[in-house]
């Protein structure tokens, strides 16, 4: 393929777009360090503990991967939907409904072995898809703003799950479901459940679908300019609906994998909580690129597992990790917006001219 020669502005804008998340992360870590220092603790020791706690050895690495796995799914869910201009904030609800469907299917039908596993994953996908379809239909028919309907559906899903693990499949009265039978669980490879590999493969597959298929091409076109897409013969309403359904299915699969792959293999209070918003953040920082989302999700996993280690080693409140995560997103958002601003572009172009002129002078 011919080397991509972009115009100077284009190339600089692309590089700025890649640089922004990295700078955002560094800035957030620096401010986090300042806060830790103000608390009288040694930030370097803290960050060392964070890295050691998450990547120190094989067991920790697998823990971090397993912690990042659901975030990859919800990140891909948000990224895929946003690519089509759909603000699906319902990743958490779709994730939870996926888990519920898997539990109902495996525990309800008393399935065992690989059949149970396969059916469980399938149930998760279908349930997630349906939970994504609802806001889609509301948007297509009534033009409802999907941001609010998806958030409300998150709460409905949370309480529905409560019904599942308290009243339907409760483990003799305890507020958690009976464990998934051993044979129906996701097998482990090198201490990490296969779900992680499934997530990474799905990420690469999503990249392929979005950037290398005509369906993905149309999804992107509708996301960037729905009017031009309509004029050029794309079925805009059908594509938007499909974006809802597929992003819901991805989150649903995430729920199924979390239940079938991670101890305690049960639905309980707090299953999937927080993964939705993290997914949205990951999609934004990864600028909607599925493969970048995998890395950002892994970094969030490091932040979570490492943050726990840092908290116990240097004794800072865990909210520090939350603040660092929040700062990363704010800087990334502000940075990306600033890069696009005409003023900044003009400034960058001026610098380029300066350099080009200098080159001429030297030549």
């Amino acid at each position: 393929m011919a080397k991509k020669a972009l115009s100077p502005e284009e190339r600089s804008e692309k590089r700025m777009m890649i640089l922004t998340p990295i700078v955002a992360v560094l800035l957030a870590l620096i401010i986090g360090a300042i806060i830790i220092a103000c608390l009288g603790k040694n930030p370097f020791e803290g960050y060392a503990a964070m890295i050691q706690g998450s990547l120190g050895d094989g067991a920790k690495l697998s823990k971090t991967l397993e912690r990042a796995c659901p975030l990859i799914f919800t990140g891909l869910c948000a990224a895929f939907a946003y690519k089509c201009g759909v603000f699906n904030l319902g990743g958490e609800g779709q994730f939870i409904m996926g888990g519920c469907a898997t539990a109902t299917c495996v525990l309800g039908l008393g399935l065992e072995g690989p059949a149970g596993l396969a059916l469980g994953l399938l149930a998760g996908i279908v349930a997630g898809a349906i939970w994504g379809l609802l806001p889609g239909i509301m948007k297509i028919t009534r033009g409802l703003n999907e941001m609010i309907t998806t958030i409300m559906l998150n709460y409905v899903a949370m309480y529905f799950m409560e019904y599942i693990f308290k009243n339907v499949y409760s483990d003799n009265g305890l507020p958690k479901t009976v464990a998934i039978p051993q044979s129906a669980r996701l097998p482990e490879v090198l201490g990490t459940h296969v779900g992680v590999i499934l997530a990474i493969v799905l990420g690469i597959f999503t990249w392929y679908v979005i950037f290398r298929t005509s369906f993905g091409f149309k999804i992107r076109a509708v996301g960037m300019n729905p009017i031009a897409s309509k004029v050029n013969g794309f079925p805009v309403r059908r594509l938007v609906l499909l974006a809802f359904v597929l992003s819901g299915a991805i989150a649903g699969l995430g729920g199924a994998v979390e239940l079938l792959g991670k101890t305690p293999y049960r639905l309980a209070d707090g299953f999937g909580s927080g993964f939705g918003f993290d997914g949205v953040a990951i999609a934004l920082i990864a600028q909607l690129n599925p493969i970048a989302a995998i890395f950002v999700a892994f970094f969030f996993g490091v932040l979570s597992t490492g943050g726990t280690m840092m908290q116990s080693v240097i004794g800072v409140p865990t909210a520090i990790v939350e603040i660092i995560r929040g700062l990363i997103i704010i800087f990334a958002v502000a940075g990306m917006a600033a890069v696009k601003l005409p003023k900044i572009k003009a400034y960058v172009a001026a610098r380029l001219d300066a350099r080009a002129k200098k080159a001429e002078v030297n030549a």
Binding site: M138, I148, M152, E162, P317, V333
Partner: protein
């Protein structure tokens, strides 16, 4: 369960539940009227709740706490304003960022403030003032006329906001910025300044809604005390048709369903209560389906305003 005996308590829960949503929704009306959809209400309410609680506890004066909470709310919302108005960043994305950052700051502040001394954990509460005579009316008396001063102020704010948008010159300019910013610009209205003012007012009111949760509703601050009320406030603005009266009606309606949910939980103790807990959220969706058609709302709502686009 005889509905009649439970009704006064449901109404009491209604008015209590409605106030924080009403305040946040009024703030959002200012913001959306100036064309800024602020998804970050949840975060601003969390900051208002924590700072209100902490400063109220430190100074011993709840009203100082409320003002501090409102000031903190404005600070956080200025971050939103800078990103969306000056940098023209995407409003949804910035709102989401605020929803993640602000509660984290509040939780971090709470850990520092309370530390391990549990005496700091529970704060005082604003006394509720019963208006003599009115509060004795059966059924609605206790609900509407036996409230904290902040609740009364919130309800009084509704006609004031209505009057502002109807009869104030600034009110007219506000509406024009949200509807057709270019037209407003040709008439000499400074669109960017107006949007910043909208963000300040939105920060003040939303944070006040959050502070109500810790100063009048419950004596403690917990992480996640806002419980989705920010998003419900967004929904009430839509089916309140972006008007002060509409928002009052919508938030009272939501408060009623919240009260009903608790009444059902209290009476039908053996039933699976989680379905009662779903009622307020399902109601919001259904209300949006009927009221929330996309035509309503300021025309230029949610679009960044590029001055150069003559």
């Amino acid at each position: 369960m005889d509905f009649m005996t439970a009704l006064p308590t449901i109404l009491k829960a209604m008015t209590m539940g409605a106030v924080p949503i009403l305040l946040a929704a009024l703030g959002e009306v200012f913001s959306e009227r100036a064309g800024l959809v602020n998804i970050g209400l949840e975060g601003v309410m969390a900051i208002g709740a924590f700072v209100g609680f902490a400063v109220g506890k430190m100074t011993g004066n709840l009203w100082v706490g409320l003002l501090a909470g409102m000031a903190a709310g404005v600070l956080v919302n200025m971050l939103y304003a800078f990103c969306t108005v000056t940098l023209c960043a995407d409003q949804v994305v910035t709102g989401m960022a605020i929803n993640i950052l602000a509660p984290a700051i509040a939780l971090f502040g709470y850990n520092l403030f309370v530390g391990s001394n549990s005496a700091n954990a529970t704060g005082a509460q604003m006394p509720s003032i019963a208006i003599p005579g009115l509060s004795d009316i059966p059924f609605i008396g206790n609900a509407f006329f036996n409230q904290t001063l902040l609740a009364y102020l919130a309800f009084i704010l509704v006609p004031l906001v209505r009057y502002f948008f109807k009869h104030f010159r600034a009110g007219l300019s506000f509406r024009s910025v949200g509807e057709n910013p270019h037209a407003a610009e040709t008439l000499g209205i400074n669109v960017v300044r107006m949007k910043y003012v909208a963000c300040i007012v939105c920060g003040l009111l939303t944070a006040a809604g959050g502070a109500f949760l810790t100063l009048c509703y419950t004596p403690i601050y917990t992480d996640g005390i806002v419980m989705g009320r920010g998003f419900i406030a967004l929904a009430t603005v839509i089916f309140g048709r972006w008007t002060a009266l509409g928002v009052l009606g919508a938030s009272l309606l939501f408060g009623f369903f919240d009260g009903l949910n608790v009444a059902l939980q209290a009476q039908f103790q053996a039933a699976p209560v989680m379905f009662f807990k779903m009622i307020p959220y399902i109601f919001t969706i259904i209300a949006l389906i009927f009221f929330g058609s996309k035509h309503a709302g300021p025309k230029a709502n949610g679009q960044p305003y590029f001055r150069e686009q003559r």
